[in-house]
Each structure stands twice: as C-alpha cells, then as structure tokens.
Subunit: 284 residues, 4 copies
C-alpha cells in the first residue's frame, strides 16, 4: 500500500506560490493525490495542503524537507512535511464518562483514526477495564483539589513519556494548567459540550435547558489558556424540544459530542487543520 | 371546507384534566382531529391543545367558551378558544432587507400562513412597491434617532388601527420601546440573526465570523423588554467554513432566517406555541 | 424510582375514545406523564399511547388489563399494556461488522436502552470477545449456503430459548426465512444501509457511488417477507461529495446506520412505534 | 470592483498539470483568488477550477485563451475560460407553481445569482404578472398534448432568441423532447421533487407518502434524454412524520426544492459544476 507525504503551508499570499510549490513537486516526478488551497482575503494569508504519493518521489521525507527549505524561506512559510508511515501518537485523557472514549476506540480499531494510542490517562479509575481490553495502557492520576500541581506534573510526565504528538481531552472535565496548554499549543484537542460561544463553562446542557433553546450543540477546539475560547475545529447540533428534560439533553449531547470530536481529531491527524490566529482553516 | 376550534390550555398538572376536557368535548359530540399534551415535570405545569371540527359541535365559539368556563375555573386554567374562521391579523414591520418579507408574502399568497396582513410598516420606503404589488397597505414611518418616541407612537397607532393580533419584526432592525413590548407581550415575534444566546446584539454574522464558528444560526423569539432574551420559538443553523467571508455568512443567514421565522410564525398562528415562563412549549 | 404502565392503542377513529380512556385512568387516580394521539385522516384510524405512573393506580398490570378489556372491545381496539418493570428481551444478530453492535452495547451499558440482551447470535465468530466482555452470551451459528434451513432452525431455537421479545439485525447480512419473519412479525428490526426505497438489495453504498448522489442514508425498518420493504421506523442521511470514494461512503454510512438503528430500537422498546399497514406511527 | 477569469479544466490525470497551469498564470503575474482540484482515482481523470483576478493579467479573455491553448492541447484538456464581466443568460421555464421562481427572482434581485434573465417561458399564463413586475419578459407557450412538437419548436425558438446559455426548469412539469435535451446538453437544469433515485416520475410526494418514508427530498440535476436520470448537482432532505399528510409533504418539499435549485444554479453559474460521465464534480 502507498504511503504519502503531506505538505502543509501557511504564508503571506502573493503571486507564484502554487506555481513554485507545484513545480518543485512535479520536477521530482511527484504524483499529487489531493490538493487544497485557501487565500484569506481579510488577512492576506495563504494556506495550502498537498498530499503526494511518497513512492513517486526520489526523496525520503528528510530529503524532501532539505530540498524544499529554500522555497519555504523565500515565501516566509510556516510549514511542515509529514510522512504517513509515521502516524501521530495520541494520548487520551478522560474522566468517568465513557461515550467519547468508546467511540474513539471503536474508530481506532476500525482504522478510521490514523494514529497510535500510547496511553489513556484519567483522574478516575472507572474506565480502566475498557481501555485495557483494547490493549492500551491506562494511567490513573487522581486530581487532589488541594494539590492539582502534583497531579498535572504527573500528567505531563506521562504525556512526555508517551511521546505524544497530540493530547485529546475526551471529556476530561479538568482544566489544564496554563503551562501545559502553552507547551502543547495547537496539539491539545478538547470537546466542549455546547455550541460555543453559547454556554461556555460548567453544566452547559443545564444552561441550555434553562434558556429554552431549540438546538443543542458541541464544539471541538484547540485548548488555549482562556477556557473554552480556543480555535474551533468542528461543531454540530441536535434538535430538541420542550419534551426533553435536561437529562435528555445530556443524552442527545453525547451523540453530538462523539461525532464532533471524532471528525475534529480525524482531520487533525490528517494535517487538515491549520490554525490561523484564533480560527482554523479546515481542508475537510 | 371544515373549520375548527382550537382549545389551548395551561394549568397546574393534576389527575383528571384530560378526562374532564375530553369528556366535555365528547359529550357535545365533538370530533377531535389533533390533540397534544405536555406535562412539565420540573414545574408541575400541564399544557394542552385540542383541535375540534366546529361543525361536529352544537355550540358556536361563544357558546363553547361559556360552557367550558366552569371547567377552566376548577382547574385554574389559562386558556383560550380560537375559531379558524377568524384568522389572526398580522402587522409586519420591516426595514430595508426584503428576504424575510418576500418569503412571508409568498407563503401568505400560497396559503401557508393562515392570517390576514392588514399592513406593513417600515422605517424606510424601499419595500413599498413590493408590498403594494401584493395589495397590502404600506406605511412609511421614519425613525428619527433624536425623537424615536414620536415614531413609535405612530407605529403603535398604526398597529392599533390595523387591529393587529400579532406583530412580526421581519428584520425591522429597531428596538421597540418597553411599553410597546409589554402591551403586546407574547404577540410580537422577532427574527434574530444568530443562534441565541450566542451573538446577541448588533452585527451577529460579523461576530460569528470573528469567532470562527463552523455553524451560523437564526432564532425566532417573542420580544420582551430585555433585548434578544425573550422565549425562543424556533432555531436553525447552516454549516459554514473558512472559505466563507462575513458576507457569505450574511447570505447563508438570510436563508436560515426566513425558514426559522416562517415556521415560528406559522406555529404561532396555529396556536401551537404556549409560553411557559421564558421558554415555550411548541406543539409542532 | 417510579415505574410506568404504557397503554398503546389503535382502533377505528370515532368520537369519545380519548374521553373513555382518560376517564378510565382518571377514575383509578392514574397520573399520566406522557400522552400521544394521532388521527389518520386518510384511513380513519386512531392511535394513542399513554404513559401512567404505576404507583398512582390501585391496579397491577394484570388488573389493569382486565378492567380495561371491555373498553377495548367496545372500540374494537388493537392494544397492549406494558409494564416498565418487565423490560423487553432483545436478541441481537450480527455478522462481521461491529459498528452497530458496539454502539448498541455502549447504549445498553449507559442505560439508554431499556431492555435485557439475553444473547448475540452471529454467522461468524469475530465478535465473540467483544460480546463476552460485556457479559452477554455469544452464539456462533454458521450459515452454510447449501443448508441454510439448518442454520435458521438453530437461530430460531436460540431466539426462542432466549425468550426474545424483539430481534435486532445489527448488520446481520443474511436474509431471514419467510417463516421466521412471519412468526416474529413486527418484532424483527433491521438496519438497511441506504435511504430506502433507493438502493434496496446488495452493496447500496456502491450503488450510491455509481449514481453520484450527494446524500447517503440509512433506514431502520421492521422485517417483512419482502426484502427491504417493511414498515420504516427511522431514516437519516449524511452529505457526501465527489471527493468521497465508495469506501468513504461506507465509513460515513456506519455513523448514519448506528444512529438510525439506535433511535429506532429505543422507540420500539418504549412502545412508541405503532405499525399501520406498511407504515409506522412513531410517537418520538 | 474586480472582475475575474475562471479557468475550468478536466483532463487525464498525470504529473505536472498543476505546475504547468499555475506556472502559466504566475508567469503572467496572475493573482489566484480561489483554486480547486480533484483527482478521481477510479477514472484517472483530473479536474480543476482557478479563479484569477482579471486586472492582474496583461491579457484579455481572448488573449488568455490563445496563450493557454497549447497547454490545453498538450494535456488533452476539456476546458473553458469564462469572464465574470459577461454573465450567463438564463432562460427560466415554469408551469403554475411559483415557489421556485419567486425564490430565484428574489435571489436574482438580491445579487445572489450572477446572471441575466432574458425571459421566462411558461405553458400557463398564471405567473405573468409576477415575472413582469420584475421587469422580465414573459412568454406563454401553451403545450397542446396533441401537438407538443409545435410548442417545443416555439420554446426552442424563444430560447435561441434569448441567446440563453442555460435553461432552468423551475418546476416546468413538461418533459423536454430529446433533441432539445441534446442540443443544450449540460446546460438544462431541472429540479425534481424527490430524493432521486427514489420516486422518479410523477407525483413523487404522493409516492413518498404511500411508502411511509421519514425524510423527503429534492434533487437538482442536468437534464438528459432519460427522465430524472441525469447527473446530480445537489440534493437535500426534510424530516417528516406520520403527522404529515401528502399535502404537508408537498408544502415541505417546496422549501427543499427551492433551496436545492438555488444552490445548484448558483454553482453552475459560477462554473463550479463539472460533468464527469453521469456524475458531477462540484467545487462548492
């Protein structure tokens, strides 16, 4: 089976970027299977993602990077080249609610998520058996409210030990300390159980129930220091009515949450999500 | 063609309400074509809506009301009985944007809205020709920012003159004075161009664009004194992406707005919307 | 915690049904928590579902049935009274694809499906470990194409032994013999992986891909002798585009299928689905 | 305000197409505002659409075409270059139902449809006043069932006289003769009031009602000789239930139809729809 290189670029927009990049790839005989570009007219910034059949090139990933670097410099690119043979390592963090984790583990098993899952970390021990049945190490790191720093030091150690590229908060229900957010900026994905910016903070379904909204939602976003305010990757909603109690909203919400998180994570793992200030470009 | 009585009730929930009401109707030989009930377990309040074929009863609407009043008293009901032969009178208020008005006038013409439209009132003269082509009187009431009271006095006079049961703010873009809101409480319907409670206030699509949301929405609600905070009747959304400018969001939003407003108004006109505190029960 | 009786009725429509039934319940002091009615104007048939707090009545289920029988006779009702203390027993049948089963087992565990699952039956042994991890017996009944009758005799024996009220074909991929369909009429639920009546039969996602549709769907329906033609309980769709291969459609479809099947089964288990000829009334 | 050239290409996929085309444009100093590509892996065909700011180029449209022709030949391209200063001319055809026409005329007026509408042709005279109020010529061409050929000869003459690039069947309800379909292949857009391939042919909402589906839909497609079988541009659906009569389905369907047709037409007018056998690539 083929593997691919994915070239992801953002840079100031100007004439000739696509020509230069596509020329470079064609000059190496590279076969492009998917190409996306976006010119943001407001900010004057340009974004692109190219997927190239690795076997069509005479270069390995490192060779590609070296050869491409002068072009990147010339156009002041922020860029990366990933190789699909080296899947990302994703550490999952959960609390007691299992719906997102069950869903992600199913998708992982079914081959929908191109990653490795070196570990699951939780502040409760409830989901150990589920995780271990999937053959994945489970770490129980209780969070003592009077000494959260100790817990998060341990979390950070475990994430580092796992050599995680990405951390997924699959209903972790704890707020990560700013230093951790910053260290893993753009690599921590959270699922918030409301249609942000509505109902940020705690108990969003109960807030939604009190307000009498006719739709509830969920939001997958990158974690930043400001709670529930990071760049949004994906959102979705579910219709509700006066018939539904706050508990029904919670139940419906579980389905929305898992769909939204799974799509957001899949796109992230395929290098389809480019951060642009506090927004995202998603080449879905 | 048949006409109908619609009996709409809300009262404290207790045993025997449905039995008493349905017995009363059956005792008169009444043929029920649609029946809805809702018990709100949180508040202990009960809601019902019955649609009865008028010809199946020996009573006219007034006779029905008299005969029913003792039951209503016994169960402490808030209630009304409407007769579909007497359609509501709906005064529309607009500004310059025509999309909601065009849509409502089409639906009115097509028989989707069971009402009369005695007039359209606007703070601009732009939509006169459109309205008059439909054979509906158009009133231009400019709103001078330095003397809004005069304008709203004229608006109130026109609404009263039109004997309007319901006022629809079809993108009117002006804030009604509190006294008017109170006088027509539960009878003024607004379309807000965001998925409330997100992005209340001005320029919601631009707020949404700045926040980088992946869905935009619209909300149809009853107007109360507090801006964009009244009971929600209906909401809907449209998916957007990084490809879309703020202007695209405005364009998409027009479609969502008109659908949401049309559904909300239709349900209101059919007595399907019952206000319950700051929420609604919608027997859609 | 309270338990409930659910009274589900269909009968020829005429004046006084609701009055008689609600009088009966009120006369016993019964507290109704949910009530739904539907008059089908085309066929002249009436449908209702009442949920009554069991503790509010002086009758047990059998006593209720006896006391209610004369009313049922008078109105020529097809009816049943169920008691939520006696959850349905659901036998699941699967093949190799696990997505629907994983989803249903999660929901079962989370308390979303009010039932017991006495067993899972499969023509392959692949999902044994998953099922047994949930503490549910797994039966492997291979289907030899040259002697299907033997396999289905064994299936029928297992279903009977399990005292199953309902059979769910959670992507079973085998056609049940007519006798089994008839014996369990209205109690076998299938998920078909297309938006019926489009793409009945085999490989529907590949049919959809060939036709170039822009939406794919799934359909949950009762099984009848005619393939993919039974009463539809629930359907849903997912948007697709030219970017998506037939395999992508299969992947998207899995999500649609599991949502549709879960909703259909939940409604069935709550006695919300009433069969009406080849259609359904769903009091969702 | 800027105008744009749109270059739309389909050709056998091979290495170097994007490089050659983007080099050509960059070599002229062309500023690309939107670029889309698609490689169909099944058929080995490549599709692209580039939108270039006209003022950024030293060439006019004819000059562009001449300079580009050798590249097109080399890569065996089917291609066209359009200039947004020369909007398409769209002849609309309608019958008695106005919902799609009202919607398209609103969008035309609001600037959502970048085209001219030289005329509306109808087999009935009902919509004359509506059309003429918009300042558009209306032609009444009755279709005598015993001599359809005469009517369609007149239709063809009017379409030709209007110099129409595109013909929109906005619920025309007559089947165009094969010769006309062929002459305007890929340029006649129809809205079919079902979710094709379900319910092709007559009275699809009534077919849907009889089958008891839980979703109804509409399909915008190019017209080919085979009825309701041409390449699909866009589809959408609306949820329905047992509460809804066949007439309700018709009413809901109107909303779905107008949305689907408006989106399909808009994309067609922006050269976003590329026909690929009996399917479409839509760069929406």
């Amino acid at each position: 089976m083929s593997h691919y290189y994915r070239l992801v670029v953002s840079c100031p927009d100007r004439v000739g970027i696509v020509a230069r990049v596509s020329n470079f790839i064609a000059g190496q005989g590279g076969s492009i299977t998917e190409a996306n570009q976006h010119s943001d007219l407001t900010s004057g910034r340009f974004f692109m993602r190219y997927e190239v059949v690795a076997e069509s090139l005479p270069l390995d990933a490192e060779g590609f990077r070296e050869a491409f670097a002068p072009i990147a410099d010339e156009f002041e690119m922020q860029w990366k080249l990933t190789d699909t043979r080296r899947p990302q390592r994703v550490a999952m963090m959960v609390s007691k609610e299992s719906h997102c984790l069950v869903d992600l583990l199913y998708r992982f098993t079914a081959g929908e998520l191109d990653c490795e899952i070196p570990c699951v970390i939780s502040n409760h021990d409830d989901l150990r058996s589920l995780v271990e049945w999937h053959g994945i190490p489970f770490h129980h790191v209780p969070v003592d409210p009077s000494d959260k720093a100790a817990a998060f030091a341990e979390v950070e150690r475990l994430v580092e030990e796992a050599q995680a590229d990405t951390v997924v908060l699959a209903r972790y229900m704890q707020i990560l300390p700013p230093a951790l957010c910053e260290r893993y900026a753009g690599r921590v994905i959270n699922i918030h159980h409301s249609f942000l910016p509505s109902f940020a903070g705690a108990r969003p379904y109960h807030q939604a129930y009190e307000r009498g909204v006719k739709l509830i939602g969920a939001t997958c976003h990158y974690v930043t220091e400001e709670l529930d305010a990071g760049p949004i990757i994906e959102q979705d909603i579910q219709r509700v009515s006066h018939c539904h109690t706050a508990n029904d909203l919670v139940r419906f919400g579980r389905d929305v949450e898992k769909g939204v998180l799974a799509r957001g994570l899949r796109w992230h793992l395929q290098d389809r999500v480019l951060i642009h200030g506090n927004k995202t470009v998603v080449f879905a």
